[in-house]
């Protein structure tokens, strides 16, 4: 890796949520030297499902079976939407690269096709999504065909009731059954946490005892659903052992955050960026950024010696309010690090609808940074704020990822497109790695 100047990175990514991780990953894969600042706490809130686009337009609640068709419609009807700025081939390439990196890091996903999949959630609703962890894919098939199926849960796991899922599905899945079990060794414990059980199942003996508890209950079941807790780092091994031990397809059901699939995703992405040589400052926050003609100098706090990081480009992937990329007082939404102008409704009275589930969504969720065609956030005059500053992910304006079900797609595709732009800007038309 050749740095243009000693200690000057090609890219500094600020933020370690899905978009920041994707940006760091793609930058490293293109051979750019990269430093990433911020902790990955936000990913803990992920479900493990990688949404691309299912609902558009929101007001019609129109649901799309094929996300790329939805994106094509979006491009025509909402050209300001960040995902409308990226061609389908790039989106596909970005997703494939992201999922391939997760697979290499021990978190395999089902092959990405053309269609969205319907996934059963822990409260019995059905969520359309695009990228499905391999540990959940048998559930997609079971949901489509509704064969005799056993849903299992455990005493003390408060937010998950197999009985609730079966009862909610009701007549639409008459051959579904439920069973609540005592997880081995937890007899006197009133509250259990999925992450602890996931870790416990990595112990071969505990795993065998759990499988032995389920075996006599199989009956005519053709598939078995569990809350998403079948292993943590070694989830592939744990899932395979359950399928082998029970002799049936086994699937996980995504649960309320912070969830085991979120934890796995965080661990896999941290491993993926680490193995690609990304420098990380997990515990640091950005205090200041000073831009000059060539570089940006980023002051860090909570970093030994009040470190300064120098980089030729900066990717802002700080997220929205949960991620602290945007902050709001009673009258105004601001960007938290640089003070970039935020596109927003004129007054707080317009931020939210009176009905929480209003199908058009809340106006505040479409507030965010405006960008040019090169993913550079705009200043108050409508020009790029800095030539070497880029913004990706949910901080961007004109999107509502929660309602469109496009959160991961927004993160992955915008990160990919911005990193491509950065590579071009720094090294000309070709990737630094020599790819076209």
């Amino acid at each position: 890796m050749t740095h243009t100047r000693q200690d000057t990175f090609d890219v500094a990514v600020i933020g370690a949520g899905m978009a920041g991780m994707a940006a760091a990953l793609f930058a490293a894969e293109r051979g750019l030297s990269c430093i990433q600042i911020g902790n990955g706490g936000g990913i803990l809130f992920a479900s493990g499902l990688l949404d691309l686009m299912s609902i558009h337009p929101l007001a019609e609640r129109r649901k799309w079976g094929f996300p790329f068709d939805a994106l094509a419609a979006l491009a025509l009807e909402q050209p300001q939407h960040p995902l409308a700025r990226i061609d389908a081939t790039s989106v596909r390439t970005a997703f494939n690269a992201f999922v391939a990196a997760l697979g290499k890091a021990g978190l395999p996903y089902a092959p990405l096709g053309k269609a969205n999949s319907d996934v059963l959630t822990s409260i019995g609703t059905i969520k359309p999504t695009y990228g499905v962890p391999r540990s959940m894919i048998a559930g997609v098939k079971a949901l489509a065909q509704r064969p005799p199926c056993l849903f299992v849960d455990f005493h003390g796991l408060r937010e998950f009731s197999a009985r609730q899922i079966v009862s909610t599905l009701g007549d639409s899945w008459p051959a579904a059954r439920f069973q609540r079990l005592q997880f081995p060794g937890t007899e006197a414990v009133p509250e259990l946490y999925a992450a602890h059980l996931a870790r416990a199942l990595e112990n071969v003996e505990t795993r065998a005892r759990t499988i032995d508890l389920v075996k006599p209950l199989l009956g005519d079941a053709q598939a078995i659903g569990f809350p998403a807790l079948l292993g943590l780092e070694h989830s592939v091994e744990v899932h395979a052992a359950f399928e082998a031990g029970l002799g049936l397809p086994v699937f996980e059901i995504p649960t309320m955050p912070t969830s085991v699939p979120g934890l796995r995703l965080l661990m896999a992405l941290e491993a993926a960026v680490a193995t690609r040589g990304v420098s990380r400052r997990h515990h640091s926050t950005v205090d200041s950024i000073v831009f000059d003609d060539e570089t940006a100098t980023i002051g860090l706090i909570d970093s030994p010696g009040g470190e300064r990081v120098v980089a030729r480009t900066v990717v802002l992937a700080t997220g929205r309010f949960m991620g602290r990329g945007l902050v709001a007082d009673r009258g105004h939404v601001s960007e938290s690090i640089i003070g970039l102008p935020v596109h927003q409704p004129t007054s707080r009275n317009e931020w939210h609808q009176r009905d929480f589930l209003d199908p058009t969504g809340h106006a505040i969720n479409r507030a965010g940074l405006l960008i040019d065609d090169s993913w550079r956030p705009l200043d108050a005059a409508g020009n790029p704020a800095w030539p070497h500053l880029f913004a990706v992910g949910s901080i961007l304006a004109h999107q509502d990822w929660m309602r469109s079900k496009c959160g991961s797609g927004l993160a992955i595709a915008t990160a990919w497109a911005a990193v491509r732009q950065i590579t071009r800007q720094l090294y000309g038309d070709c990737d630094k790695a020599g790819e076209p």
Partner: protein, 537 residues
């Protein structure tokens, strides 16, 4: 109507707020058979949407001495007989620079005139006791204000009435009156849950419907001159003061901050409204409260607020008053003789602090008409503690959790509500012939009232109720959606800062992951994508 069932009773009470429940208890203690019908739930109106302030009376000393004395006397009775519902925090009256010097100077003598204990507190000493007070504080007086839990008060009044034979019909709306000359022969009541009607034949009918009293009276053919004043309050995340803090000035906007367990409650506003529909806190009201109350308590400018709520005060016998604040806060008892009805009375208006007295006056009228000689007992009888009613108190659940050695499953981690608390509440409602909802449980406990506003605990509570077999089919999803619709009314006006991030998390979970906003579309008629209609070329 095909054979609607008929029920007989001596007295039908319409409205399950603090007045209606105090009245049903009063009459039950006198041996009178009663039915209370409530269109929604206990304290669903202004009774559950106020400060929870047990007035010492000091607030009224300058403008309304009679009200001040009433408050003092009634406050003392409730402190003695319903102490489980009261935190005797004491109260400060605080003036800041710019407040009316004359009002400040007259305050102690006005208090003494009404028999209210008052003493001046040195400003520096007061600021040591309550560090949140403004550095611009110029005068502080201490009075015996206290905090009262109106939910527990009403629930326990109803619970005692029930043990004496009174009946409660929740979610039952009065839709018509059958007259016979100068008498109401029967009242038509519709169950909102079942859609079925019953006719209740009562010798006497009392309209205690609060802000809805005018509508009920009109239905019976009587009229009441009533106006509506909307008041909004904000709930902080964290408690800012130990005592009740009142602004020492004539009653105005945002001049009271109440302690409420782990939070503080600040308000109110007063806006004349013409309709009882679509009452929710607005962003303008929230801003007004923060700006005005922060003159007394500057930390409110940077405080995180977790929710807001609005109630409508029924103001009787006032016309042409601009903002409703100067209209009478006293109560009114109408016997409706002039309307040509001999067995209807309306009791409305008034204050939380004087609800017992209002009930006594109404019960006296009813008993006189019935020829019942038994005297009122509520001024000398303890309000019994009912085990299923204790969970409304902030801080009770955490204490219980510490006491039980933490061997309990907690469904709500913000307010530490255990599964067994939910079970107790559920069982009590079922025992009374009710079908409890998640919203009912929220009203009777702290579920949904902490920082997460139910985002997590509602999911856990529903999972728990399904697991017990209490919820079936799609009901839990319906309940979650109803619960959030209700909570949201109180949230959208205070979403800035930290709480905006909290709301985003709630939406990420309930819309982003669970897709609750898509419910009702094709959640279950799903087909494989190839058959999904929007087919790929």
């Amino acid at each position: 109507m095909a054979n609607p069932s008929r029920i007989e009773t001596q007295v039908l009470i319409i409205g399950g707020g603090v007045t209606g429940t105090a009245l049903v208890r009063d009459l039950a203690l006198r041996g009178v058979d009663c039915i209370l019908v409530e269109k929604d739930d206990i304290n669903a109106g202004a009774s559950g949407r106020n400060h929870g302030l047990l007035h010492s009376g000091a607030r009224y000393v300058a403008g309304d001495q009679e009200a001040a004395v009433e408050c003092r006397v009634e406050g003392e009775i409730l402190k003695r007989l319903a102490s489980q519902t009261i935190q005797d925090t004491g109260g400060f009256f605080v003036a800041v620079e710019g407040d009316d010097e004359r009002y400040i100077a007259d305050f102690p003598s006005h208090c003494k005139r009404s028999g209210i204990l008052v003493h001046r507190v040195d400003v520096a000493a007061a600021r040591e006791l309550e560090p949140a007070l403004s550095p611009h504080t110029i005068a502080v007086f201490e009075v015996p204000d206290a905090s009262i839990d109106p939910f527990r008060l009403s629930l326990e009044s109803m619970a005692q009435a029930r043990t004496l034979g009174a009946r409660l019909m929740r979610r039952s709306r009065v839709i018509g009156f059958q007259r016979e000359g100068r008498r109401i022969r029967a009242v038509q009541v519709r169950s909102m849950q079942l859609g079925e009607d019953v006719w209740i034949e009562a010798a006497q009918v009392v309209n205690a419907a609060g802000a809805w009293a005018r509508e009920v009276a009109l239905l019976a053919g009587a009229s009441i001159n009533m106006t509506y004043s909307k008041g909004t309050l904000l709930v902080t995340h964290g408690r800012l003061a130990q005592r009740v803090v009142n602004r020492l000035r004539p009653p105005g906007n945002a001049d009271i901050m109440m302690p409420g367990g782990t939070v503080s409650i600040v308000g109110t506003t007063s806006t004349r409204v013409d309709s009882l529909d679509n009452i929710y806190p607005t962003t303008a009201e929230a801003d007004l409260i923060v700006d005005e109350a922060s003159r007394m308590l500057p930390a409110l400018q940077t405080m995180r607020f977790i929710r807001a709520y609005s109630g409508v005060r029924p103001l009787v016998g006032s016309t042409g008053v601009a903002d409703g604040r100067t209209a009478s806060r006293g109560f009114a008892l109408f016997d409706h003789d002039v309307d040509g009805i001999d067995n209807l009375a309306t009791i409305t208006g008034g204050k939380l602090t004087t609800c017992r007295l209002m009930a006594e006056r109404a019960a006296d009228l009813v008993c006189r008409r019935l020829g019942v000689a038994a005297p009122c007992l509520t001024a000398i009888t303890q309000l019994p503690v009912a085990p299923e009613c204790k969970w409304t108190e902030p801080g009770h659940a955490p204490r219980e959790w510490m006491r039980t050695g933490q061997a309990e499953t907690l469904l709500c981690e913000c307010e530490m509500v255990s599964a067994s608390a939910v079970d107790t509440i559920y069982a009590a409602l079922v025992a009374a012939g009710d079908t409890p909802t998640l919203t009912d449980i929220g009203m009777r406990s702290r579920v949904g009232k902490g920082a997460c506003q139910g985002a997590f605990c509602a999911v856990r509570a529903v999972a728990h109720l399904y697991q017990r077999g209490d919820f079936q089919a799609q009901r839990g999803l319906d309940e979650i959606i109803d619960f959030f619709a209700e909570r949201w009314k109180g949230q959208h006006s205070v979403l800035w800062g930290e709480q905006l991030a909290q709301a985003e998390l709630m939406e990420a979970l309930h819309c982003g992951l669970f897709g609750e906003e898509l419910r009702g579309d094709d959640m279950h008629g799903l087909c494989p994508p190839a058959l999904n209609g929007k087919v790929s070329p």
